[in-house]
Symmetry: C2
Subunit: 246 residues, 2 copies
Amino acid sequence: MLSDTPIPNNHDITRAKSNCSACSLRELCLPVGLNEQEVEILGDLVNHKCRIQRGEYLHHTGSNFQSLYAVRRGFFKTYVLEQDGRQQVTGFHMTGELIGLDAISTEMHTCDAVALEDSEVCEIPFAKLEEMSRNIPSLMRHFHKIMSREIVKDHGVMMLLGSMKAEERLATFLLNLSHRFFKRGYSSSDFILRMTREEIGSYLGLKLETVSRAFSKLQEEEIIAVHNKHIQINDIDRLRNKIGTA
Amino acid sequence: MLSDTPIPNNHDITRAKSNCSACSLRELCLPVGLNEQEVEILGDLVNHKCRIQRGEYLHHTGSNFQSLYAVRRGFFKTYVLEQDGRQQVTGFHMTGELIGLDAISTEMHTCDAVALEDSEVCEIPFAKLEEMSRNIPSLMRHFHKIMSREIVKDHGVMMLLGSMKAEERLATFLLNLSHRFFKRGYSSSDFILRMTREEIGSYLGLKLETVSRAFSKLQEEEIIAVHNKHIQINDIDRLRNKIGTA
DNA sequence: CCTTTGAATTGATCTGGATCAAAACAAGGA
DNA sequence: TCCTTGTTTTGATCCAGATCAATTCAAAGG
């Protein structure tokens, strides 16, 4: 059924695009159109590459904000705690994405960020970033676009939570993941989920049982194949049709 | 029941804090800690004060992005259209709030913005804002905080949509409005809603009938008084208790 | 004044997803 | 190997909110 393809899955041992050695921002953290000199200057921006083990926290709610974190490798979730202790997942973050933008506003983190697999991040001291963006207009512009994109993304989630049915939500979620894996050079149709059904449910505003049932339904219809956390998308068009045509 | 109070309602003819003449950013658009000279420079930033009538649009989805808009007076809603034509309200915006941050990312507006009452906005050319913030660090910092606050706000809405019941959602919504009116010098317990039940429902992920029933329920419990769009909060503590104690 | 029109309320019913419960499964660890 | 523990699936039931339908109400215009 699966033709052997040169495109790596995100669970292959060899990782796509993970062979760059120095932690420059050249290709992942803030891929701006810079000249060589600017890239070099930018090198100063990044403090150090930091390994984070599965289950370790990048920051907690209320902790002091100093730096943004660019995911270099791995997978994170961020969540806010409600008064009654339940957690609401606000996002999943993979290679090349920035964590901590919410903390700029109050200079305190407003969510917890935890690694869902062994990961690596670049720490980007925010004061330094602001300082440098003063002299590099394209960096400033790029940073503003990143923040703006975050807002747009959140509006998309609001739409999902506000008006989609369970199956539509899951389809949207899978298509989004698929797209993000694709952009990173991984297979868009064969990947491993790093989060549990409960975490997916929290993100999508559903209970874990409902998420599981939605997976099963999509599998029955032969649109996807589910083996625990291993997902294969067999018919992406029909998956797309699940959205907005309920 | 209502003691006559010096605090104006948002439906009084005399408006609180609306008597400033020039459209400087001094006190509303971007209230940064600036010295006199900087404030003067900043005056250049604002193109012109612009009147927008109820029902008029500030921008449409897909239109070219040039400027942010600071609400000077009045009330707006922003919404995104789904493929099937329904609209999902992404926010309500009142005096002092910024509209258009979502458009920075693609340089196209990603939502429609429409005035829900006769309003006035300041147009802030974004290129100019970036240019100036390069020379005024506190302006840059302030702008970043505004964007970040937007992200935090959206996370709050995600939490609301993802895990609250209808009554909790409406209580949260009313408390949020109350707080925003209060900060602007209006009564926090007596105000006029500018949006319909349907628009509230869209924002809160509920049908208009459910919104209406939730209003009625809160009124029965004598926590609020509802006369169409006129809302009075009689017992703000019990309203607060509605949240997270379901 | 009455008429029109859009908005809001209220009632009756239906249903998607929550909840409760149990079984199946997977990954470690002893 | 067999436990243990956490995760996932599946089934049975229940309920909050959606849906459908009918009034009521408010504002604007003739």
